[in-house]
């Protein structure tokens, strides 16, 4: 019978944040425990940032800015709300927040998966560079601004100027889009897009019908500088 791995518990009321992150970075050279639980984050910024290992981290409570920033390989679950810049520049792994996410969720994310079970505020997936982002609720204004690569799925409504100055990222919205940003247009939802959505929703463990979404992408009119764009 397999023995459940020991859970390394760190109480941020007793342990300095710097110590938590150092240990998550493997300070001391010993192998990292595979499972971690962080208690009493109390809105702290930069919780569990810069991890580069396939560990699981459960954070019990709300976190401030940049939780799981630049994550590589780890699975970080926030059992609460997250502030600005959740999983910014994520490289790989998975970051899940049970509640809401503040502005710039998954900003510049390059890989991996970010899941927000509540709503995400403005600029969600801004400058996205390859990560997948699934928001079960709504997203705020300017989401996917200048998004280059990757996928943003919004199961609720999207705010103003969705996909402004978009490059090659794929955007899917099930609800209403308040307005589209510059050079962002609705495109046909074809079979390959339904398949992409279906797989992504399954990875995110979000129950939604892929066929109910509308697809948005770049019209590619801003790809080459032109005097009329000035």
């Amino acid at each position: 019978m397999a023995v459940a791995a020991e859970v390394e518990t760190v109480d941020l009321r007793e342990t300095p944040l710097r110590e938590l992150n150092r240990r998550l970075h493997g300070a001391g050279g010993d192998p990292l425990p595979p499972r971690w639980r962080v208690t009493h984050p109390d809105g702290a910024h930069a919780v569990a940032v810069g991890i580069d290992a396939p560990v699981e981290v459960d954070v019990d409570g709300h976190v401030g800015y940049y939780c799981a920033g630049m994550n590589q390989h780890a699975t970080v679950r926030v059992h609460g709300n997250a502030g600005v810049g959740l999983a910014e520049n994520i490289m790989s792994g998975t970051v899940v927040v049970d509640g809401y996410a503040g502005q710039s969720c998954a900003a510049t994310g390059r890989g991996g998966l970010v899941v927000v079970r509540g709503h995400a505020s403005a600029r969600c997936a801004i400058s996205l560079k390859g990560a997948d982002v699934v928001v079960a609720g709504d997203t705020g204004p300017m989401s996917a601004f200048m998004a280059q690569k990757g996928v943003l799925v919004v199961c609720g409504d999207a705010g103003e100027a969705l996909g402004d100055s978009l490059y090659e990222a794929h955007l899917y919205v099930r609800g209403q889009v308040r307005s589209l940003g510059a050079d962002c247009v609705e495109k046909a939802l074809r079979g390959e897009h339904v398949a992409e959505l279906e797989a992504l929703l399954a990875r995110a463990d979000v129950d939604a019908d892929p066929a109910a979404f509308r697809r948005y992408g770049s019209a590619r009119r801003l790809y080459a500088f032109d005097v009329d764009d000035a």
């Binding site: 944040l17 710097r18 992150n21 150092r22 970075h25 300070a27 910024h45 930069a46 940032v49 810069g50 580069d52 401030g64 800015y65 940049y66 920033g69 630049m70 590589q72 600005v84 810049g85 910014e88 520049n89 490289m91 502005q103 710039s104 900003a107 510049t108 390059r110 600029r123 801004i126 400058s127 560079k129 390859g130 601004f145 200048m146 280059q148 690569k149 100055s165 490059y167 090659e168 801003l222 790809y223 080459a224 500088f225 005097v227 000035a230």
Partner: protein, 430 residues
């Protein structure tokens, strides 16, 4: 016949060009008009009231430590001249390698630029500063950790408040892959960071970078010179280890000429504001100040240090040292409608010197070893010149130069630099 001072030849030519092409001019090389600069200052050499050091023999140290406010691994440089951030993409790979070779030969640092870190520059730069810019092209935690310092770029002297654009003709497969965009597509560098929006956020952002790098790496904050006093104070409050201040003469960023010539303030005006902010906060020489924008000679270096900088950074001068705008390329510059000493369309990707290009054939023209030797020679010359002036003022370390060693040639320069007009004790505005 009388030429108009208001409508001079350059103005007339620009009106004619705009009427013909219907679009503003984009170029590099920073402000080209005459601005108050270090040329408007002079050193008061030692005499009866001051005691000089022997010019060729007595020790005059040039070392500088950058980033020891919070970082556990500050930079220790042998000379107070660094290489400014210039991206791979804007510059060719051999050019980045040459910058690394030259800087490392004299014990100083290079800086990555917008577009990520290349093996050429990491491999050849003993000390490499990794820029974190609004675009975050190529940003990743592995490179953050293998950098020697991190520079959060808020603005550049050539275009404070503006972003940038790398034109599609410079987007090779390699550049495209590093920046996660298709080949040939114009790449916009945003003017705002994607995940913070003000000085309070910046403090939290710097905290995240410190946590990711376990508080080892010095964090620089680079600003374009505009509201310098306030910007420096806010950057210090946000936790910067080093302030990088880029005056409007900063030239390696290409943008609209109207932006270059009409936004921002000269380094001469900005530097004393920065020092004032640092002194009022009690962190002058603790939070180091690196200045750039029109540094060309050892005299510029010495004057910047005398006004309170800890080091300077060079961009355009470094490119010239590598071989840009060389007279032997006159025919090729002529074919581009330019001439040696005038070529400033570095954004266009056709640099015949093989420096500001992604064309393989052009890039192959630059021998990185030779370019590195030229740059090292230039950096040595700047250092020797700086030492010469410092010794003449009786200083055993270039950081001992001080405003009291300077006078100004013009009322404007005296007011900006806050030193007396030559031959008087008058400091305008005080």
């Amino acid at each position: 016949m009388r030429e108009s001072a208001t409508f001079d030849r350059a103005v007339i030519a620009e009106i004619q060009r705009a009427a013909r092409e219907g679009i503003y001019d984009i170029r590099g090389w920073g402000a080209k008009r005459r601005l108050p600069h270090f040329d408007d200052l002079l050193f008061l050499g030692a005499s009866v009231s001051r005691y000089p050091l022997e010019g060729y023999r007595e020790r005059c140290a040039t070392d500088v430590v950058l980033g020891d406010r919070f970082a556990s691994e500050p930079l220790a440089l042998q000379i107070p001249v660094t290489i400014a951030g210039m991206s791979f993409g804007a510059l060719s790979a051999p050019a980045k390698e040459a910058l690394g070779r030259g800087a490392s030969a004299v014990g100083t640092a290079t800086t990555t630029g917008d577009g990520g870190m290349t093996e050429e520059e990491r491999g050849h730069s003993d000390t490499l500063i990794y820029q974190l810019l609004p675009s975050r092209y190529g940003m990743n935690p592995d490179d953050l950790r293998r950098a020697d310092a991190i520079e959060v770029v808020i603005g550049q002297g050539a275009k404070p408040g503006g972003g940038g654009m790398l034109l599609g003709q410079k987007i090779s497969d390699r550049v495209a892959a590093m920046r996660d965009l298709p080949r040939g597509v114009d790449q916009r560098s945003a003017c705002r960071h994607p995940d913070w929006t003000g000085p309070d956020d910046l403090e939290i952002k710097l905290g995240e970078l410190r946590e990711i790098t376990d508080w080892k790496k010095p964090i620089f904050v680079k600003i374009g010179a505009s509201r310098t006093y306030y910007d420096v104070a806010l950057a210090v409050k946000a936790g910067a280890d080093v302030i990088v201040l880029d005056g409007m003469q900063g030239g390696t960023a290409a943008t609209q000429e109207v932006f270059i010539e009409h936004v921002g303030i000269p380094l001469l005006a900005a530097l004393p504001q920065a020092v004032e902010a640092l002194q009022e906060l009690g962190v002058h020489r603790k939070v180091q100040l690196v200045v750039s924008g029109g540094i060309r000679t050892g005299a510029d270096v010495a004057k910047a240090l005398a006004l309170g900088a800890d080091a300077v950074s060079i961009g355009v001068a470094a490119l010239i040292a590598l071989g840009d705008n060389a007279p032997e390329l006159a025919d090729e510059y002529a074919a581009l409608g330019s001439a040696p000493g005038f070529y400033d369309d570095w954004q266009a990707g056709r640099d015949p010197a093989g420096i500001a290009t992604q064309d393989d054939a052009l890039a192959a023209r630059l021998d990185p070893e030779l370019g590195g030797r030229r740059l090292a020679n230039f950096l040595r010359t700047l250092t020797l010149e700086t030492q010469t002036l410092a010794r003449a003022c009786g200083k055993s370390h270039v950081h001992n130069l001080e405003p009291e060693d300077l006078v100004a040639l013009t009322v404007e320069a005296a007011a900006m630099a806050r030193v007396p007009l030559a031959g008087t004790s008058w400091v305008p505005g005080t």
